[in-house]
């Protein structure tokens, strides 16, 4: 009897103090990949996200759960279902990344006649009466109780045509990425342009996404407790979108100060 009890207790102790590999990195990648003008760019965004998530999972020993909502599956119902179906444990990490058309309505689609209160975009998907708002998605994901929730949209509310930066072999950069995903608790909400601004895509991907993943792949040499602050401060800077022979167009990401707690 005592032996059985000890065994159960031992299992519980092992579960409770589980190493990083018992935690999950949930990634929901939404990409309007069938769209004519930006479909190729959104697919490139999703590929960049998948590559980065694989890297993070490898470095942190987090178990990767990657859900793709793209191609013929791209619609409001599937997006909302992917969020509703996600189940997280307290030490998990969630990344939601939307690449597609977006808009800033005058009135809230879910409350006709009421002014839209969110500064964050709504996704342009069908059916029209269930178009999700990025901030609402963030709230729903935060309610799942995961340790860290990162909600991002690269959509209209401008892409640096840069090649994906290969991760430096230096262990020090790997250590920073581990810290970003293992030592922080809280949530981050990001959209690629301020209300009233367009977000721009090349066929190779969104301009914001290219810059953002460059920052995520090469975190700055800074105390680990300031990593996300530094990355987001850089990501918040104006993006100058250059078109041949014309004045650059400005796209400025909207990134509120995140609710994050760092622990070593």
């Amino acid at each position: 009897m005592f032996g059985k009890l000890a065994a159960v207790l031992l299992v519980c102790v092992l579960c409770g103090s589980g190493p990083a590999y018992s935690q999950t990195l949930h990634v929901i990648s939404v990409a309007d990949s069938n769209d004519g003008p930006i479909g190729a760019g959104t697919a490139a965004n999703s590929k960049a996200l998948q590559n980065y998530a694989t890297l993070v999972a490898t470095l942190t020993k987090l178990s990767l759960s990657f859900t793709s909502v793209s191609g013929d599956k791209f619609n409001c119902t599937e997006i909302l279902k992917s969020v509703a179906d996600l189940q997280a444990k307290p030490n998990d990490v969630i990344i939601f990344y939307y690449s597609g058309h977006g808009f800033a309505p005058e009135s809230d689609p879910s409350r006709p006649g009421m002014a839209a209160t969110s500064q964050f975009p709504w996704f342009y998907c069908n059916p029209p009466d269930s178009r999700p708002n990025l901030e609402a998605i963030s709230r729903e994901l935060k309610a799942k109780g995961a340790r860290l929730v990162i909600t991002v949209a690269d959509t209209c509310n401008v892409i640096l045509p840069v090649a994906e930066t290969p991760l430096a072999a230096k262990g020090v950069i790997e250590e920073r990425i581990r810290a970003m995903f293992l030592n922080y608790k809280g949530s981050i909400l990001i959209t690629s342009s301020k209300r009233g601004q367009y977000s721009w895509y090349y066929p190779s991907g969104g301009i914001f996404t290219a810059k953002f993943f460059q920052l995520l792949r090469d975190p700055p040499d800074i105390d680990h407790s300031k990593l996300w602050d530094a990355i987001l401060e850089n990501a918040r800077e104006k993006i100058m979108v250059s078109s041949p022979g014309q004045q650059p167009i400005i796209q400025q990401p909207e990134i509120p100060i995140p609710e994050l707690v760092f622990s070593r």
Binding site: D35, G36, P37, I38, G41, S99, G100, H101, G102, F103, Y124, P128, D154, T155, C156, V158, I159, S192, Y198, S199, W200, Y201, Y202, P203, G206, V241, S242, S243, P244, G245, Q246, Q247, I249
Partner: protein, 132 residues
């Protein structure tokens, strides 16, 4: 871009119309003129207005080039009806997305989206004057 220039060059008559409500259908892929059987009332363009649209929309400098596109649906609110050489074409205008989209009788014949940000203020002012 070239197909827009061709459509404008080939047109013999120019009409303009305003959608009574924003045209969400205009965001669809592979649209043809057959998808628009009931156009709003079309007003013939004056020679000066026709010349303005032909000149500005035929100029490559009027467009954002280099493969850039916006993550913004194409919801049209105006359109040009271009008729000539036995063909009818529509050049849809979205003041929301600041862009144009050519619709022909061939579902593969239209351009995707032309972003007219460099000349948008002038186009908006002209549209405002026409529909005053």
């Amino acid at each position: 871009m070239q197909s827009v220039q061709t459509a404008l060059r080939d047109a013999k008559t120019f009409g303009i119309f305003k959608f009574p409500k924003p045209c969400e259908k205009c965001n669809g892929a592979n649209l043809t003129v057959q998808d628009f059987p009931d156009l709003p009332p079309v007003t013939p363009l004056s020679a000066a207005d026709a010349s303005f649209f032909v000149t500005t929309l035929s100029d490559p400098a009027s467009y954002v080039l280099g493969g850039l596109q916006k993550a913004m649906p194409f919801i049209a609110d105006y359109g040009l009806l271009l008729e000539g050489a036995g063909e009818r074409r529509l050049l849809l205008i979205s003041t929301y997305a600041q862009s144009v989209k050519l619709i022909t009788s061939d579902k593969d014949g239209g351009v995707l989206i032309g972003n007219i940000d460099p000349i948008f203020p002038k186009v908006k002012e002209r549209l405002g004057n026409i529909f005053r």
